[in-house]
Amino acid sequence: MEEFEIISDILKGDKEKFRFIVEKYQQMVFRTCMGFVHDKDDADDLTQEVFIKAYQSLPKFKMESAFSTWLYRISVNASLNKIRKTSGRSFFQRLGSVFSGEDKNDPLFSASDMEDPENILIRQEHFHWLQKALDSLPGKQRTAIILSKYDDLPQKEIAEIMDITEGAVEALLQRAKKNLRTRLSDSDSPFVVK
């Protein structure tokens, strides 16, 4: 069944068909949210929020662009809003989760029985540094790099999602990469092999 047909049916009242949309796009939305929030639980909540927002705004979808582009826009906006709201959380909550051992439940840090605890710690340190480096980027650079690196989207699609030209995307990506390189190669960065 065509995607636009499904959307028309949902708009006519067959809300059960929204299930197909969630099933098809859940991993895509989750991946984008993960790129912004770097926490599985937060990304899960955000993904849920994105789909509810998409369902409520479905009558506003004009079917002029691809549905995925529209959904990406909602995901990016919801993620940026979430970050804005929880910007004060990062440090203290992260610190809290490190001490309470919450991070151990995160699949990012779950280790096999054989894995050296030192390796887990190193991985955690890398993860937090990358998060810090990404979070230090301005909103547009961050959005462009996440859509490029996490979602593997071509510049043309990123341009459509961000409603800018392809040239502007190229410039944003170059600046973002340069900034990331500078941050990641700082002398105190754990990524630097001394």
């Binding site: 929204f18 299930r19 770097h38 993904t47 849920q48 890398h126 990358l130 690196k149 190669s185 990524f191």
Partner: protein
């Protein structure tokens, strides 16, 4: 190759997108330049972290949760509507009754002056001699 050119091409080198001669040039530069090597290592590790995040799966119950929330939202919407109707109906009946009573009184008051007009005030009754017997009749007797 200088550091600037090397760093500019690190992404493409990492992804193997460079022509073979350029690949060789970047490779030999990385072998000799510590600062570019550090940046390249940082980039490689960061790439691994991104891959780990990318490969994390969404909650398997996400679809069920979203559909349940939508169902709940719709029901809450209907409930709100029925609650509004339940509250509005008695209010409307009360207002209609009050309006009916008010208009009834108004209509009653409108017709009252006409009835009063038939009544002859006391002062007029004193000078109204229509009901008195004619003097002529008395004199004729």
């Amino acid at each position: 190759m200088n550091c600037q050119l090397c760093q500019k091409n690190l992404d493409a080198y990492q992804e193997g997108r460079l022509p073979s001669d350029m690949m060789t040039q970047v490779e030999s530069h990385l072998e000799t330049c510590d600062s570019c090597k550090r940046i390249y290592n940082a980039q490689l590790l960061a790439g691994r972290v991104i891959i780990t995040e990318k490969e994390t799966d969404a909650n398997p119950f996400l679809v069920t949760r979203v559909m349940a929330m939508i169902e709940n939202m719709e029901n809450t919407g209907h409930e709100k509507e029925s609650l509004r109707i339940r509250l509005l109906r008695p209010a409307l009946v009360t207002v209609s009754l009050a309006a009916a009573v008010f208009f009834g009184i108004m209509l009653g008051n409108l017709s009252r002056p006409a009835r009063n007009a038939d009544k002859i005030p006391v002062e007029l009754a004193l000078i109204n001699d229509a009901s008195l017997e004619s003097v002529d009749i008395l004199s004729n007797e």
